[in-house]
Symmetry: C2
């Protein structure tokens, strides 16, 4: 669980990192930055800050903001009915990201570098010492269907009063 | 038709505009910037410079670079077999873009603003006085199937020796 103050502080930091990367948000996007602690309450260590630009039935685009050393924990995107799982490309805009993909080992991505994670493939990633800004281009996001390796994880963040 | 020197000069300008917008390319991406004159040989007036990050069967992401006053001419993306036409979101990163969409009139997009063009819908757009950098998030790009209103247009650029 995160407090409302923790969420707002994380939004503030994420907005600053995006601005440093030259990425412009509308005020509404800034106020809606998602702060995900994956239900673990250890945001600095395991978490992600997310701006969703668009998420239709066919296409999704986001910016992911990571604090120094922050990790997005291992998960996969399973098939949905006849549709293969989410396919996502991570493109690093600022900072360094250590991406770990099932069957591929560790892939180090620097600004301008990218990797496409196939559907239903386990992956996790961690920001380097300066944090990171990562663009994600993908098929439809259905976060609630993501399968995490750690059974203690809940994708939806709970914010206390 | 464009000369090889014209193409290289346009790539140089596009790379500079991307750098000003804080967008980092790999050297291979820089060298592969597409310069499209739509077969009209009037690049300054009608044209587009394009960096394709990813274009799979499901997802495409690009940066579009526009010189001051440059226009991408009216076209639509028709259905392909059972699949609806390309759906694309334009998000302006730098500069101003005047987007014209069938049934919607003119939409002025400034940095941080975006619009999603539905499949098979006529649209064209023009950069303002400072040029523009626009991120495009879409379903698969099949440029060769685009339908342009001007019958003189050919989507593939021909470069002379």
């Amino acid at each position: 669980m995160l407090s409302q103050a923790e969420v707002e502080a994380a939004r503030e930091r994420a907005a600053a990192l995006l601005a440093e990367a030259g990425i412009v948000l509308t005020p509404a996007e800034r106020d809606a930055i998602e702060v995900a602690d994956f239900g673990l309450g250890r945001l600095e260590e395991i978490g992600l800050q997310i701006v969703v630009y668009v998420n239709t039935d066919r296409v999704c685009a986001k910016e992911l903001v990571m604090f120094p050393g922050q990790t997005c924990p291992e998960h996969r995107h399973p098939a949905v009915g006849d549709e293969p799982g989410k396919e996502e490309t991570f493109r690093v805009r600022r900072g360094v990201v250590h991406l770990h993909v099932e069957g591929q080992g560790e892939i180090v991505l620097r600004p301008g570098e990218q990797f496409t994670v196939p559907p239903d493939t386990l992956h996790w990633f961690q920001a380097g010492d300066e944090g990171a800004v990562v663009s994600e281009f993908s098929t439809k996001s259905r976060d609630e269907l993501d399968v995490f390796t750690d059974p203690q994880i809940a994708r939806a963040t709970i914010v206390s009063e």
